[in-house]
């Protein structure tokens, strides 16, 4: 049976360097010392009962709240206080006392387990101070940069607001036309699902899920089926296929009904399951209705990013489906594409964003940030369909520390893709790490001066945090 010392003598170094001994039961923080008086019976801190003092730390749990055993593992809900002189004090669950694992850097939790613990508090304290110092420097410089950003944003905003005012006249004239344009645009966005299917292709290059790659051809096939099935009746018919002249097998320029029937294996229509054989016949020639024939450049220069979607169909990947639709209808709607109008709409859009309390995030607008890992290139374009995160249990004033991108394209057998971006203070604006904790749920860490807080005046204490 274990025999325990009731009291432990603790030695502290105060600022003057004079050793002072303070006696109290093992595991009790100084703040609670007054409840443990050796000369008196002990009353459980929840007041539930009073026991003789020799039952404090006697390795048997008498108090429901665990307060009679601050220095042993007897109580399931107890906690042990380690002073950790040189580093910072902490509480550990009493189940970690004498379990053979060193938890307190001052080794006080392992007094009877045989574990060979070394006092690492000084080292930890030193490292922590270094980190704090570094962080303070970064914060300081970052905060200066932030002030510049705020200044620039302010100027930019004023300029743009002026520009908008200048354009009010034009706007009035064009109002009717804009209204018409909006109708067209909304119509283009209507089949949301269809749009997602198109994004799928762009995702394949980046997604780390093996099944997507395995299913790449099937995904294309699925996409093609959806496109071909013009009347959405679940079947692709001869006439629906006939609209794709590029499939002409003899390349004589016309795709006859007979030729189509040949491609379809003699069937009048095919469903999703039988489409597979048809796909084999046509996939080499098939041109998607939505994709331009030349693949769009992966790098979309920021200044070409148009029309961030008004819905919150967030996409970490920029994809200009709207503008493509516009191109197709160019002849009819040329009038609406006057530069002024576009610029104005863009500026209005920009001005409508929440760029932070002092608009310090403005500079990220239309910018993209990349991180290359051994396997993939990750690309973050803030404010292109991003939302400020409103995580549970997060105070409102911290809402600018998380960005969320949700409802991305669906994963094969998985959820819709989503990305959480955590922002931390830094001198540079960079993506520092990415991970995929669950499949298709990405986590990015992103540093920016825009979240740097004004440094506190106090210099970090050269002695770290010590009791007394």
């Amino acid at each position: 049976m274990t025999c325990l010392h009731l009291l432990l003598t603790l030695v502290f170094a105060v600022s003057l360097g004079t050793p002072v001994e303070i006696q109290r039961p093992r595991g009790v923080p100084l703040t609670k010392k007054q409840f443990y008086e050796e000369s008196k019976p002990f009353t459980c801190l929840d007041g539930s009962r009073t026991i003789p003092f020799d039952r404090v730390n006697d390795d048997y749990c008498d108090c429901k709240d665990g307060s009679d055993e601050p220095g042993t593992a007897a109580c399931p809900n107890g906690s042990f206080h380690c002073t950790n002189a040189g580093y910072r004090p902490m509480f550990i669950p009493s189940s970690r006392i004498n379990d053979g694992i060193c938890d307190c850097c001052d080794t006080t939790d392992e007094y009877n387990s045989g574990a060979k613990c070394e006092n690492t508090c000084k080292e930890l304290g030193r490292k922590e101070r270094e980190v704090l110092q570094k962080m303070a420097e970064i914060t300081k410089e970052g905060f200066l940069l932030k002030q510049q950003l705020i200044e620039e944003a302010k100027k930019g905003r004023e300029e743009k607001q002026g520009k908008v005012t200048d354009m009010q006249e034009n706007k009035k004239q064009l109002e009717e036309k804009v209204e018409a344009l909006r109708t067209v645009k909304e119509a283009a966005e209507q089949p949301e699902k269809e749009a997602k299917e198109r994004h799928l292709k762009a995702w394949e290059g980046e997604c780390s899920c093996k099944s997507i790659r395995l299913e790449k051809d099937k995904a294309k096939m699925a996409e093609a089926f959806l496109e071909l099935d013009d009347n959405s009746d679940g079947f692709v018919s001869v006439s629906e296929l006939q609209s794709h002249a590029e499939l002409d097998p003899d390349a004589d320029g016309t795709l006859t009904e007979t030729e189509v029937q040949g491609l379809m294996g003699g069937a009048a229509q095919v469903d999703t399951s039988t489409f597979e054989s048809v796909w084999t016949n046509i996939k080499d020639k098939y041109h998607s209705e939505s994709q331009p024939e030349e693949p769009a450049p992966v790098e979309t220069p920021p200044d070409e990013v148009k029309e961030p979607a008004v819905d919150n169909d967030s996409e970490p990947y920029p994809e200009d489906d709207i503008s493509e639709e516009d191109d197709e209808d160019e002849d009819d709607e040329d009038d609406y594409h006057e530069d002024d109008d576009k610029v104005r709409v863009n500026i209005e859009k920009e001005l409508s964003f929440d760029f932070g309390p002092d608009a310090e995030f403005t500079y990220m607008y239309s910018q993209c940030y990349e991180l290359s890992t051994s396997e993939y290139i990750y690309r973050l374009c803030p404010f292109n369909r991003a939302l400020w995160g409103r995580e549970k249990n997060r105070p409102e004033n911290n809402k600018y520390l998380v960005m969320k991108y949700e409802h991305g394209t669906g994963c094969w057998q998985g959820p819709n893709r989503s990305t959480t971006v955590k922002l931390t203070c830094g001198k540079e604006t960079v993506v520092t790490s990415t991970s995929e904790p669950s499949r298709c749920e990405y986590l990015m860490e992103f540093t920016t001066p825009a979240v740097c807080q004004e440094p506190a005046n106090t210099e970090p204490s050269p002695h770290g945090h010590e009791e007394l």
């Binding site: 049976m1 274990t2 006697d58 390795d59 048997y60 593992a73 007897a74 399931p76 669950p93 189940s95 970690r96 379990d99 053979g100 694992i101 387990s113 299917e197 799928l200 899920c209 099944s211 395995l214 299913e215 099937k218 995904a219 096939m221 699925a222 996409e223 089926f225 959806l226 999703t272 399951s273 489409f275 597979e276 051994s374 396997e375 669906g410 994963c411 094969w412 057998q413 998985g414 959820p415 991970s435 995929e436 904790p437 669950s438 499949r439 749920e441």
Partner: protein, 935 residues
């Protein structure tokens, strides 16, 4: 994991992601055969009960001391069979039937029996032209061999316990030469189909024969583009068993079905064929990952078992003369004193091999368990840590991820012992290697876990990537250890790594080599806290027939057809052996397997494969593990949370609460699911899960002692109620609650939104104590228990003593030296008993050096006594007794500890509302002799 790329599924899921997850989530039945699609099953099943064409040739009877042989002849085709009968020690009878002179040897299953079963003398009591009566030793048991038609009856006194071939379904397809390639054999061959089929006109049959040949699939069979060439032609066997007086049969796992087996009339038979079934369906007789061809029959008088030792594809038909009757109909029979005795008839059909049956005659359930254990061995005694909680996921992404999950458990103060790595940890699914980017420093990772007294399991599957840059592949190739295809080349199939070879685990040299690969200097990055998981060992072959290996593949001279169901057993056997060898025989192994066979219990743990996050899957985990426990495999569990799909928070919590009370307790999740570590569902749910896991850890001493008992005696750890209450018919079909050992009854909440459960508490005149409130309830009643989300209805049997370690720490190893609390639950007669087992928790020293403590704890006559059950054992523990709770006690005036001739008073408290007496800190060492007297 299971196969992902099933045709069309990918396509459909792209279209209808939502739909796919709500309704279309089920097995693709078309990938697996029905009896009708399995040629031999169809042939055999077409053959109906009637008079058997087999006749015993009594003049050929030979009896040596314990072995009786006798020839049988099929009067239709004149083929002779050889019957062997053995009386085995421990009240068992073995019946073997083979061809007298087969064209070439037929496969007999090796390596499953732990030894040639010891026999007892048989003697002939009487013999005449009609048959022979043999004495089966004591207990007035006789074995009657009837000559014409041939049948066997085992009698005890005037009662028939069991009959063989009483329905005339013995059928033995003898080996033959193929007619279209060979000259007509002379004379003897009359028929080609099932040999026993006597019911059709001979001449007509012969004509039909030729035309039906292909259809019958005698020499070739095609299923979904896979052709099974059958160079040996038809080889199937069948035999029927009748069980008079039996209405309840159990066992023959693995099926996702109720505990009590159903009759199979009008449906498919229960199938035993180890298969990787993607998204299996519940409540049907389809085959799953493992097969144990053992059936238990039970009534209030007797429990018996039938062990059909055959590793080929097997189907089991069950019929009953009472199956269709309503309760009212049965009552009517009873009132009218009518009629037929209830009877269950069973028929076994296997594709190849011989008939080799062990009839275990009980009579008590525990007798059947020890009888079966004497044949195939007992549950291996696992390392204590493996009874703790296991955290798994496909996949923990990298070392950072492992570290942060490990820290998560500490941050949320939830204990765990093992973290698991699935296939993504290896370099391109090359097992025994590590991904060079994600797991570049495996030893560093393992050391980090070891520093916290925790362990890891990494997966090692039996499919080997065909890659000339892969050491394992090259060595297997150079040693010629791969399974061969029918043409003699290396068999190759598609699995996780792509094109893969399959080592021939039936070859003992191959197994020895495989075992040597687990040596620390071979398995780079491994350490002593790294253990192994064998998945996909059915074997799973993505592009093979029914997602498994072609039956005409070759293991030496035997076809895969012959050995299929034991491939997985061999994989686990070789892996466990490797783990033992790496420590020089000192340390116990821990290996989890998905595929299994009779005898697999000797090598580690089993889980129920790729289940789903659905309430029904939670429910089915109980009968699935109960069925396995009945046939030797005690170390069973289901993926907590469900493998496929995302569980609701309520389901996840309920699953933790259930899994905490099942033997193998591991959470696992599919790659496509969202993260579900226990702390991701808000503080309230984290607390609920923490509490469930802590209850598990507190009870580890009890679990450990039960596994020691299972290892020694074959008694299942997790049991149906009828095992302990064999005369209480109310218990016979219960499979929503279960016993752990004899002393804990668990009725987990497995219904969504449940506000209460009704638990049956068995035992007239007994009492049960709620382990959370200590409230006492009478036995033999249905008790309604209101529940909240925190409730786990568990009861301790009055009359039992359970040792617990109530100081739950972050892993089981951290609790090694902690003190015990004894929970003494008194029977109405103020009696209780229990056991305490202690050893080092991980080595074989308990076996090789008798280093353990085994104590009997008895409460009688107001005294609680600890006495030594193993006086010549030696083990020292620093654990002590910190507290004793006596439930159902009355208040004593004084409590005294008697030890080493000294008496010391012990402080106590008495709670009169619940009649709980708490003895404060008696303090004796757990290994000592002592008595606590209540005065």
């Amino acid at each position: 994991m299971a196969v992902i790329s099933i045709e069309r599924m990918g396509l459909l899921s792209v279209f209808f992601v939502c739909l796919f997850f709500s309704s279309a989530f089920a097995v693709d039945r078309g990938n697996f055969k029905t009896c009708d699609q399995s040629a031999f099953c169809k042939r055999q099943r077409a053959f109906k009960p009637g008079q058997s064409p087999y006749r015993a040739l009594l003049e050929t009877l030979e009896l040596s001391d314990s072995r009786l042989t006798l020839q049988l002849i099929n009067d239709n085709n004149k083929v002779h069979l050889l019957l062997e009968l053995y009386r085995l020690q421990g009240n068992m009878t073995r019946v073997k039937i083979n061809e007298l002179k087969p064209l070439k040897p037929r496969f007999e299953v090796p390596d499953v029996l732990i030894a040639e079963p010891p026999t007892e003398p048989l003697s002939v009591l009487s013999k005449d032209d009609n048959g022979v009566v043999l004495s089966l030793g004591a207990e007035s048991q006789r074995l009657i061999v009837s000559a014409r038609p041939f049948r066997l009856d085992i009698m005890e006194g005037p009662e028939v316990l069991l009959s063989l071939n009483s329905r005339g379904l013995l059928a033995f397809e003898h080996l033959r030469l193929r007619k279209d390639t060979q000259a007509q054999p002379e004379g003897a061959e009359v028929k080609e189909s099932v040999d026993g089929d006597q019911q059709q006109d001979e001449g007509k049959k012969d004509e039909d024969e030729e035309s039906n040949k292909e259809e019958d699939g005698l020499w070739e069979e095609t299923f979904k583009s896979h052709t099974d060439t059958k160079p040996n032609g038809p080889t199937s066997i069948s035999l029927d068993f009748s069980l008079p007086g039996v209405e309840h049969v159990y066992g023959i796992p693995e099926h996702a079905d109720d505990l009590k087996l159903k009759t199979t009339d009008g449906g498919d038979p229960y199938r035993l064929y180890n298969l990787d079934v993607f998204q299996y369906e519940l409540y049907n007789p389809m085959a799953l990952y493992g097969s144990i061809p053992v059936m238990l029959a039970h009534n209030t008088q007797r429990t018996m078992g039938i062990f059909w030792l055959n590793a080929a594809e097997t189907w089991v038909d069950i019929s009953s003369n009472t199956a269709g009757k309503t309760v009212f109909g049965k009552m009517l029979d009873f009132v009218q004193g009518s009629s037929e005795k209830p009877q269950t008839d069973v028929r076994w059909i296997s594709e190849s091999g011989i008939i080799d049956v062990f009839i275990m005659l009980g009579p008590k359930p525990s007798d059947v368990f020890s009888q079966y254990a004497s044949l195939t061995g007992t549950q291996s005694f696992p390392p204590l840590a493996s009874l703790g909680y296991h955290q798994c996921r496909w996949n923990y992404n990298d070392q950072e991820d492992v570290k942060s999950v490990d820290q998560g458990f500490d941050q949320h103060d939830i204990p765990y012992d093992f973290i698991w790595l699935d296939i993504e940890h290896a370099d391109g699914k090359r097992y025994f290697t590590w991904d060079p980017h994600k797991f570049s420093q495996p030893k560093e990772m393992l050391q980090g876990l070891m520093d916290k007294k925790r362990k890891m399991v990494a997966i090692v599957d039996p499919h080997i990537k065909v890659d000339s840059g892969y050491k394992i592949h090259n060595e297997i190739t150079s040693k010629d250890f791969y399974v061969k295809n029918k043409d003699g080349g290396n068999y190759e199939g598609w699995c996780w790594p792509g094109n893969s070879g399959y080592p021939d685990f039936t070859n003992p040299e191959m197994r020895a080599w495989w075992a040597s690969m687990f040596a620390y200097d071979q398995y780079e990055g491994s350490m002593e806290n790294l253990f192994t998981w064998n998945d996909m060992n059915e074997p799973s072959v993505f592009n093979g027939p029914e997602v498994t290996m072609h039956k005409d593949a070759l293991h030496g001279k035997w076809e895969h057809r012959d050995i299929h169901n034991m491939y997985g057993l061999y994989v686990q056997m070789a892996t466990a052996e490797g783990q033992i060898q790496r420590s020089g025989g000192a340390e116990r192994p821990f290996v989890l397997t998905r595929a299994f066979f009779a005898g697999s219990q000797r090598f580690g743990a089993v889980w129920t494969g790729d289940n789903a996050a659905e309430w029904d899957h939670l429910k089915i985990s109980i009968p699935m593990c109960l069925s396995l426990g009945l046939v030797g495999v005690s170390f069973c569990g289901a993926d907590v949370g469900g493998f496929f799909k995302n569980p609701s928070t309520e389901l996840l919590v309920r699953w933790y609460q259930t899994g905490a009370y099942q033997p193998f307790f591991r959470a696992h999740a599919h790659l496509d699911t969202t993260r579900r570590e226990p702390w991701l569902f808000g503080p309230e749910n984290t607390a609920l899960i923490r509490e469930a896991v802590r209850q598990r850890y507190a009870l580890l001493p009890y679990w450990y002692q039960l596994f020691f008992q299972a290892y020694r005696t074959g008694m299942p750890v997790m049991r149906p109620l009828w095992v302990d209450y064999p005369k209480d018919t109310a218990t016979f079909t219960i499979d929503d609650e279960f016993l752990i050992g004899s002393d804990l009854l668990v009725h987990p909440v497995t219904e969504e939104g449940s506000r209460g459960v009704t638990a049956y508490l068995p035992g007239a005149g007994e009492v049960w104590y709620d382990v959370h409130t200590f409230q006492k309830h009478n036995g033999a009643q249905n008790l309604y228990i209101p529940v909240t989300l925190s409730s786990i209805p568990v009861f301790q049997r009055g009359g039992s003593i359970i040792p617990r370690k109530d100081r739950v720490r972050r892993s089981s190893a951290c609790m090694e030296n902690d003190p015990y609390t004894l929970y003494v639950a008194l029977s109405p007669k103020k009696f209780a008993e229990g056991k305490l087992y202690i050893d080092d928790g991980h080595s074989f020293n308990y076996d090789t050096k008798k280093e353990f403590i085994h104590r009997s704890l008895t409460f009688a006559n107001n005294a609680l006594t600890s006495s030594n059950l193993c006086p010549d054992c030696n083990f020292l523990t620093s654990s002590w007794i910190e507290k004793v709770l006596i439930l159902g006690a009355s208040k004593p005036s004084k409590v005294v500890l008697k030890m080493n001739g000294k008496e010391t008073p012990v402080d106590f408290e008495f709670d009169s509302s619940m009649s709980v007496l708490t003895l404060r800190k008696p303090g004796m060492n757990a290994g000592d002799d002592w008595t606590l007297l209540l005065q």
